[in-house]
Symmetry: C4
Subunit: 235 residues, 4 copies
């Protein structure tokens, strides 16, 4: 690792450790069940949470650096048990710079029924560009979860996938964008749940959904922070 | 800007920044999706949240001052993407001194179904004087949202409107009153949701609703803080 | 006020101010909508929250001392708009030393349907001795709310009443016991709501409920803190 | 008590006091209704919460040391009113080093209906190895609760039991593992509740559930912290 890469890794260790605080702030995770990773730009490396460590105990130093096959390159701890899925996404989707995994309650409830979240809210149109899709059931331990994420999100506007009977994976151009997608996924999953619990929510026109998504990805936020919070689309 | 106006603007920058803390305290907002603004009394100016900035990072200095057409007059950041809606309300409703926008979950669930919240609670009678009405579906980017808010709330007792498939806008004689209406809107939306989830809530007599509303607007609170927390009625 | 009474009042001002922190800790209240009071033992006096003041701003000094008809005896602020109801309870129920009022969401949802909470939980048997009853609809401003509380709770084991379309009032031998009843009322209201939302909860035998209530009122807790947390029964 | 035992007891007093902070962090408990205990390894002793004491006031010094029949050996306060149930579990299940009791809302709602929580989530397969079972209704005060816990959990993969109309008891090889099981029990109970509220969750294959459970109990976490978070299985 040269000096520039070492400096980048150091900064990402801090960013990734700190971003886990957003998962607890929004109550997306219980105990140690959720994780954030970031790709080291221009390197076949990622920074990820150690496995089974309390969120309170996470620091830059306890983060783990792996290659994109999940082999530890730097760090004393074993990496997250979801490392293989993160690594697969980085290998298959070069535009992705951050990956997040949670079992947030409302989103995971939709995943347990195997139901995509229909787009009934402008906030969902903004961030997800339509429904939030369901991915296949897949066992942990190999590439199956990673393949399910990539096959579901490739060519899809949504940066979030509901993995069946499991939970949420989100992607972003960096770790912060992926964390934002995880926060917004639970937020719209909750509101959609509550809306449908008492009746039938009103549909939105597809043209309105697309118009909202286009505007949000290109206009929202401060110019200096780069505009679009999601993953640049490839089409 | 003369000295008096500058002093007023300074105070409102601090008030508006601080009031966003009530949105996070009551979990009315996720990530950066919600905003507060205040009219500068006697001026065609408003103070509003910058776009896409974390709530933790909001300070008096990061607030943005705009004229009532949304043009930035003072501030380094782009104003909230909802600035046009706030500005339209201030232009059309001179008695309004504060506007708040959230996607709070329970209230937005009613909005997704396009259902007004019936008045089943004395707390709703106090603050809203009856049902909380639904406004039209409107796209962001022009005056449509502002028009929908104003046409729904004009002549209505409620300081809150549920914009269809979108979220909540509230008004008040000042920013604090509008924030209070946003907090109470989610509170009664949640209780009404829970009540109807297990059966049919009991209706309240219209005369009782009116009696409660009159009393609350005129008697409640400390005399020194001005009595009525809502917008002075125009009839 | 002699020196002993002044000392008692001073201590109760601190206790009552501090106990409001339990209402916010358990999210039983929104904005300023909930209040705690304590009787000054042996005096026709009570200490109560000022009207419309933020929970963060409550201190011993801002509490208000009233006689048992709600007339202010000591304090700069107007007392809670629910003062008449608290005062009526103290006049009618000499064994009561504390009163609490909230609009906590789940309990108030039962109140909006006018349904008592059936006893499906050992925790409810412990604290409430059976169902939590519903009181009548009553307008604020006179003795109607107080009369509704007293007529419902007199001779009833429950220290909590669900006032129709309104919210919760609880009583206790002191303010802390009344606050505990308010916390437990929302807790069992939520669990009972969730239980019934997906089916029919299992009934408990009346003899088991009575046995649990007797044990809890007489055995639970540290001997030095006086045993029973509720109101001493009169039969 | 010899010096080594005294040192062990001292450490467990601190651990048990601190672990109660996880019950409040995850909102598993209201007021004082929930408790943690730990077996003193190799001794017929346990460390447990005092009865009816606020979670804020818990310190190492206020914990109570009892023998495995619930008789106080060291401590100024009366032990938890659930001490007999904890003691029975330690006597009957020598592999158990920690016991936790809560009335957490979603899990207790399943208990109120007397329904086991079906396994619809990989997180539940990981921690519980299948459904979370229901134990019998039992009155406090003797060995009935303890017997119900032991008869339900003996030979079962789940470290959690839903005691009918009552709440949750969890076991673990130490107090931390039992607390984790209590946290995860409420988490999966909530997600399962939400999933079933809007339809029928998708079943998981028994082979997949077993595969996930085996992997999680043997692979997850850091090797240095001992691997499996649950109770070592006896078959």
């Amino acid at each position: 690792m040269n000096t520039d890469t070492a400096r980048q890794v150091r900064a990402l260790r801090e960013t990734v450790a700190r971003l886990h605080g957003e998962l607890t702030r929004y109550a997306l995770v219980a105990w140690t069940a959720g994780n954030v990773s970031a790709r080291v730009p221009g390197q076949d490396l990622m920074v990820i949470k150690p496995s089974g460590v309390d969120y309170d105990a996470l620091t830059a130093d306890t983060m783990v650096v792996c290659d994109l096959h999940g082999t530890v390159v730097d760090g004393d701890a074993a990496p997250s048990s979801d490392t293989a899925a993160h690594a697969y996404v980085y290998r298959a989707m070069p535009e992705v710079g951050g990956v997040v995994h949670t079992h947030s309650s409302y989103a995971t409830a939709w995943a347990a029924r195997g139901e995509a979240i229909p787009c009934w809210l402008t906030a969902q149109a903004d961030e997800f560009g339509g429904e939030i899709p369901v991915g296949p059931f897949a066992l942990i331990g190999g590439d199956d979860i990673g393949k399910g994420i990539v096959s579901t999100l490739s060519g899809h506007r949504s940066p979030a996938v509901l993995m069946r009977n499991h939970g949420v994976f989100t992607i972003g151009r960096d770790a912060r964008a992926a964390v934002k997608a995880a926060v917004m996924c639970e937020d719209v999953a909750r509101t959609a749940h509550l809306a449908r619990a008492l009746g039938q929510p009103l549909p939105m026109a597809q043209a309105d959904i697309s118009s909202l998504h286009d505007r949000y990805q290109n206009v929202y936020g401060q110019r200096s922070t780069g505009g679009s919070p999601g993953v640049p689309r490839r089409s």
